[in-house]
Symmetry: C2
Subunit: 215 residues, 2 copies
C-alpha cells in the first residue's frame, strides 16, 4: 500500500472525500506510468527516472508517495494483482461446469482493459514472478494471489462434486493442476512467443483433464 507522508497540498485542499479521490488518482497515475516504464525497459533495468519520464506529474510526486524503488514496485505488484481480483462475475445459479469454464477462460485470456492489454499486464506479472525467487516479500504477495486463484477453482470443483456434476476427485489436486496449466500457458506465450498457448491449454484441459472430472 502507498503511504503518503503528509497531506497532498499540490491542489486546493477541498474536503476529505475529494482529498482521498485525489490521492487515489495520483496513485493510479504513478502505477500506470510504472506499467509503461516496465513494459518498455523491463524490470531488471528499471530506474525511477524511467517511471518519471512516463508521467505528466513531477518526479517528486513519486518520492513523496513511495520510499524508493523497492517500495514502489511492491505496491505496483499489489496493484497489478488487484486488477484481477474479483474480475470473474458469475450469475447466481450458474452450474459448476459453466463457472469452472468461465474461471479458466478468464485466467487464460484475461479481462479487457482500456489501456494495456491483459498480456501487457501479464508480461509484467510473470517477470516479477520469476524474480520472486530472490525476494521473500514479493514471494509472499504472489503466494497469496496464487492461493486465491487456486482456491477459487478448488471451491467450484468441490461445488460440482457436491452437486453430483463432477466425479469425486481430489479437488485440491485438480485445482492445483488447472492452475499450473493456466500459469504455464501464460508463461509460454510470454517468454516463448507462442501466441496459441492459451487456446492449446484450453483444448488440452477439455480433451484430457475434463474426462477425469466429468467421467
Amino acid at each position: 500500500m502507498p503511504h503518503p507522508k503528509r497531506v497532498d497540498m499540490s491542489e486546493s485542499p477541498g474536503d476529505d472525500a475529494a482529498g482521498e479521490t485525489r490521492t487515489a488518482d495520483t496513485r493510479e497515475r504513478i502505477m500506470e506510468a510504472t506499467f509503461r516504464a516496465v513494459s518498455e525497459h523491463g524490470y531488471a533495468d528499471l530506474r525511477m527516472r524511467d517511471i518519471g519520464a512516463e508521467m505528466d506529474l513531477s518526479r517528486q510526486v513519486i518520492h513523496y508517495h513511495y520510499d524508493g524503488k523497492y517500495d514502489l514496485l511492491s505496491s505496483f505488484l499489489e496493484y497489478v494483482i488487484e486488477q484481477y481480483e474479483g474480475s470473474v462475475e458469475v450469475e447466481p445459479g450458474t452450474d459448476p461446469k459453466a463457472e469452472l469454464d468461465a474461471r479458466i477462460d478468464r485466467c487464460l485470456l484475461g479481462p479487457e482493459f482500456d489501456e494495456f492489454s491483459h498480456w501487457d499486464r501479464m508480461k509484467v506479472y510473470h517477470e516479477l514472478f520469476a524474480y520472486a525467487q530472490n525476494d521473500d516479500e514479493h514471494r509472499a504477495i504472489f503466494n497469496d494471489h496464487y492461493d486465491h486463484i487456486r482456491d477459487s477453482i478448488v471451491t467450484v470443483v468441490e461445488a460440482g462434486i457436491a452437486a453430483g456434476d463432477f466425479r469425486d476427485v481430489d479437488a485440491d489436486l485438480m485445482g492445483q493442476l488447472l492452475t499450473d496449466v493456466i500459469h504455464a500457458a501464460r508463461a509460454r506465450r510470454l517468454a516463448l512467443g507462442h501466441e496459441d498457448a492459451p487456446a492449446e491449454a484450453r483444448r488440452a484441459i477439455d480433451e484430457f483433464v475434463y474426462e477425469s472430472l466429468l467421467g
Copy 2:
C-alpha cells in the same frame, strides 16, 4: 558458443588435443563460476566482476573468451541446457509407458550433479526464461530447447499409440500439456517455494491425465 580470440597461452602450449582440453576446462570453470555468481546475485543484478570473484582464474580470462556480459550469458544459457540434453537413457525395449514416466520424472526431478543441484540450475534457467520475453536471441535458444523436450515426449506418446498401449489421442496436444505441467511445477517450486510442487504435478498427471492416455 564461446569464441577464443587467440590461442590460450596461459599454460605451456602442448599439442592441439591438450590445447582443446584446456580451452574446454577453462570454459567449464567460467561457466561454473557464472552459476555461483547468478545463484548469489540473481540475473538482473549480475556484474562481470561478480563472476570474476567466483573464479580462481584471472578476470582477464573471461574477457578473453567472451565479448562482454551478454555474450557470456548467451553461452551460459546454452551450457545450462546442454547439461540436460540426452540426460534420459532408456534401455532398448522399454515399453512406452515406462519411458514416458522416466522422461517426466527426469524433467520434474532432474539428474544428479556433483556441484549445484538440479534446482540450483533450474533457478537460473527459469530466471533467464522469464527475461527471454525481452530478448529475441535467448527466446530462440529456449524455443529450441522447449521443442526438444516436448518432441521427446510427443515421440514416446506416438510410439505408445502405435504399439496399442495408449489411446489414439492428439499426441502433439498431449506432449504439450505434459510439458506445460512440468514447467509450471518447476516454476512454482522455484518462485513460490512450493517444495512439493513436482511431486504434486506427478500425482496429478497419474490421476487426471493418464486416464485419457490409458483409458
